[in-house]
Amino acid sequence: MNNTLLECRDITVKFGRGSDAFDAVSGASVKVGENEAIGIVGESGSGKTTLARVLVGLQTPNQGDVLLENKSLDSVQNSAGISQNDRWKVQMVFQDPYSSLNPMLTAKTAVAEAIQVWTRCSKNTAMNEAIELLGDVGIPPDQASQLPGNLSGGQRQRVSVARALAPKPKILIADEPTSSIDQSAQAQLLNLLRRLQEERKLAIIFISHDLNLIRYLTSRVYVMQKGDIVEQGPTEKVFLKPSHPYTQTLIQSIPGSKSDTTKIVDNSGV
C-alpha cells in the first residue's frame, strides 16, 4: 500500500436504545492508500454501509477516529464552515441513482451545483465545468440537459459519479454502485471507475455484496459480518484461501462457484 490517505481506527457505531441497542459496527479499522482500490464485502446488515458513512463523515461514530491524511476528521468537523475542512477530499457515490439525484434538476445543473458548493465559482463557470465533467463520464451535452427521469439507470449513476468528482476528491467511496443497473451498463460504469482511478490518481473504496465485482476491481479486501471485520488481506489471497468460515461460506455461495449448493447449511434466522 502507498501512503495511507484515509484511515479509521476502532470505529464503533451503536444504533437503538436500551434493550434494542446493538453495534452496527464494532471496533472496525480500515485503511486506504493513495490511488488504491479496496473493497468492503458483507451481507446486508453487516455494517458495511454504516462504515462507509463514517468514512465519508455522514455518520458520527460512538467510538474511534477517522484520520484523513493523518489529521482527525473529527476535529475538523467541529470547526464550523464546510469550506474550511478537508471533507471535500472524500466523496461518495450512492447505491441508488434513482433516489440520490434531485428529479427536478437536470444532470448538468446537479453537477454544477456540486461544483459551486465546493469552489464558490460563478454559475457560468460551474455550468461549463459540469458539462466537461459529464463528458468525461460519458454523458454527452444533449443528455446533460436532461432530467434524471429521462436518463437510464446507468446514465444516472454516471451523473452521480460526475457529481462526486466535482470537488476533485482524492477518495471515492462507491456504495453498491452497480446494484440497481443493468449488466451492460454495469460494465461501462466499472470501466469508467477504473479509468478515473488511473487518470485522477483516485483511491476508491468499493462497498459491495457482489464478490465477483470486488475480486475484479480491488487489490485489498475487508470482509464484514455483523459489524465486525472478520477477515482482511490481498483480494486474490482472500478469494483463493479464505481463512474465516464466514468468508468461506460467502465464496462458496457465489453462483457458478460449482460448489454443491445443497450442502450449504441453513444459517438464516427467522
Binding site: 451481507e43 449488466q183 455484496h209 465477483n212 457458478g256
Partner: protein, 336 residues
Amino acid sequence: MINHDPGSSPPLLSVNKLRVSFRVGSGINLPVIDTADFILEPQGSLGLVGESGSGKTMLCRTLIGTLARHGAVINGGNITFSGQPITNLGESEWRKLRGHQIGYIPQSSMAGLNPILTIKSQLSEVVKHSTGGSESEVRREVLGLLERVRIPRPTAVMRSRPHQLSGGMRQRVIIAAAIAQGPKLLIADEPTTALDVTVQSEILALINELREELGMALLLVSHDLAVIEEMCSLMAVMYAGATVEVGPTENLISSPNHPYTRALNTSRTDKARPGDLLESIPGDAVSVGHWPNGCRFWPRCPIADLDCQDGLQPDLLAIEQRASACIHSDRMEVTD
C-alpha cells in the same frame, strides 16, 4: 421456431411468435414483446435473460394470465401448455391454471405477501382451494408446506407476519404458496435479486430440490448469467422484446450465435481477470417505444452492417438444438 421432436409427447410450454402490446389510448398499441419463441419440455429448465425493458417480466405475466391487469394484450402468436392452447383464456379459465398448474414466484417477496396477515392465514387461503377441509386439516397442510420449503420452527413462523421474517424466509413462504398445489411449471421472476449471496444460494438449492421432488419444470428469469448457468439447461436471451437466441445454456455461453449473447457474457465480472478492461456494450438498452428498424440490436452491435438496419427484427433461425436471430451469426467468432 425451435425444433420439437414430433414423435415425443407435447412440450409442457410452447411459446410461438408471441406478440404482446400495451394498450395506449384507443387503438394505439405499444409493442412490448415482439416476438418471443421458445419451448420448455416437462421437467425441463429454461433461463430467461435480458436487461430491464427487454420484456422478461411481461412474458412472465403473459404466462400467468395477468396481462390485462397491466394494461396489455396478446396481439399475435400463440401459447400452448401441456398441448392445450392458452393464448385466449378468460379469467375463470386462468384461475384453474394459475397456481394449480403454473406456480409463480414474484420478484419482491414483500410485494407477494399481505403485510397485515399472518403467514398461516395467507397460506390457508392457498390450501383451502384444494383441500376445502376443516380448520385442523388446513393447519396441517400449511405446516406441511412450511416444512417442505425447509422453514425452521414452522409453528412459530405460521404465527408471524411478513415483516417479522427475514428476506430469505419470506421468499421461502412465497415458494411454499407457489408449489402448494403441485404445479407442473414454476415461473420465478428474479427470485433472488434482493437477497444476499448466501441466502440466494440456499433459495436456489431449495428450488432445485423441490423441482426434483415434484417433477416441476422451471422458467427462471434472471439478469445474472452465473445463476442461469447453475440452474437451467436451456436459455433464452431477450433483447428489446424479442428472443434473440435460444438453446442449451452451455452452448450459448461457450459459443454464442448472437452478438448480444456474446456481449452479455463478456461484460461479466465473474469471468474477467482482475486488471482487464470489461468488454462493455456501447450505448444503452433501447426502451419500449424506441426500437430501431431492422435488428433491434444493430446500433450497439460490433458486427452490424447495412443489411441489419432495414426491415423487421429478424426471426429466430434454428440450427439443430439452438436458434439465433442474428443474420450474420456465421461471422461470430468463438469466444476464448
